[in-house]
Amino acid sequence: MNVSKQIMNCEDYREAIAADPSESFEGGAAHVAACESCSAYRAEMRALDDKISRALAIDVPALQIPDLPPIGEDEENVVNLPFRRASKISTPAWIGIAASFALAAVVGVQFVGNGPANDQLLAAEVLAHLDHEPGALVVTDVSVSDEQFARVINSAVGTMDRGVGLVSYAQTCIINGMSIPHLVIQGEHGPVTLLLMPDEMVSSAVPLTGEGVTGIILPHGDGSIAIIGEREERIQDLEQRVVDSVEWSI
């Protein structure tokens, strides 16, 4: 939608005024001053907006603040999240003892970056999600099928070069309300989780660290990619390879 032209035609103006009845876009006032029909359309849109505004203003119940836990000094500036680290096991033994992952050590993970709050919230979302799918964290030499890979890395997401590594897990998951590909590749020291988030921008790289794990969320185009592995894993060696392998669809 083009709302920045100095001289607008009626179609442009009507699209713009329906998107922004306050007419904060350039060129609108000049157009409407010379076009009676669009002036009437603007009045119609503003009347509609008044109705929308009143309809949205539903009654609000009294504020109830939940019981707030005390914040220890060591917790300030740190968001602690549960994160299960899988033991190293090899296929096919993992199949029989997958349930034991539920008993894997729970360790604290913290953000070491000082990025904007939104970046930290995304990091929280990413780490909380990993806890949902501990079954993904297994050491294996079995690759997912091409069909499964294609289902997850579909045209709505983009493309990914499978040369990035042995992909042992591929599922579509929800992060921040968006469906995103959750992949696991086998690193030198165990499974490495990749979350491809085409719609989640970060202002800069967001490093993650914790007992036994390390990771990063990297900006990539209009989205970002989270890479998380065992502490011994040299994530920085993977970063470029992973980023180069992914191309978002337009």
Partner: protein
């Protein structure tokens, strides 16, 4: 400064920010999930999360966007947890019906129903623009989409509402 004094200041800051923004948070949550009962739960969880990471909020002037982001993510988390189905307007819970029935003005009631039926992708930017006064850029940042996509959704959303209301009037 003693830890009690730090705690007190932190709590005072939290209460100040939340009391000012509570109405916006609740209404945003209610229009995201279209259920007042769930909205209250989502806001409670969001407040708890905000309390734990209050120090991430550097400036109180950024509190609105920060808290709305937390509410948005908490809402997504809630629905991921519960695996809830989308809402069918013909089989509403009492709480959902109450949200639609609380106005006596038939024009507003009609618009509220139209908003309720509007797809999430169109309703959310409208709520953020009309109710929260967010700019296109702010909406884009909050929703993680491009400004052009925000404008397109706002335009289409309003046109759909306009058509819906005109259809009702003609019926």
């Amino acid at each position: 400064m003693s830890s009690n004094s730090v705690d007190l200041k932190r709590r005072q800051r939290f209460d100040r920010v939340v009391s000012v923004l509570h109405r916006d948070l609740y209404r945003y949550a209610a229009w995201l999930c279209r259920d007042p009962g769930i909205a209250e739960e989502v806001v409670q969880e969001a407040l708890l999360r905000a309390w734990k990471s209050l120090d991430a909020l550097r400036e109180d002037s950024a509190a609105k966007s920060w808290l709305l982001t937390i509410v948005r993510r908490e809402n997504a988390r809630y629905f991921e947890r519960k695996r809830l189905e989308t809402v069918d307007i013909d089989s509403l819970t009492p709480s959902q019906s109450a949200m639609l029935a609380e106005t006596e003005d038939p024009n507003i009631a009609e618009m509220r129903e139209a908003l309720y039926r509007l797809e999430d992708d169109y309703r959310e930017p409208l709520v953020l623009q009309v109710l929260m006064g967010h700019s296109t850029k702010e909406i884009a940042e909050l929703m993680g989409i491009k400004p052009g996509a925000v404008l397109t959704r706002l335009h289409r959303g309003r046109i759909k509402l306009k058509e819906e209301v005109e259809k009702e009037a003609a019926a």
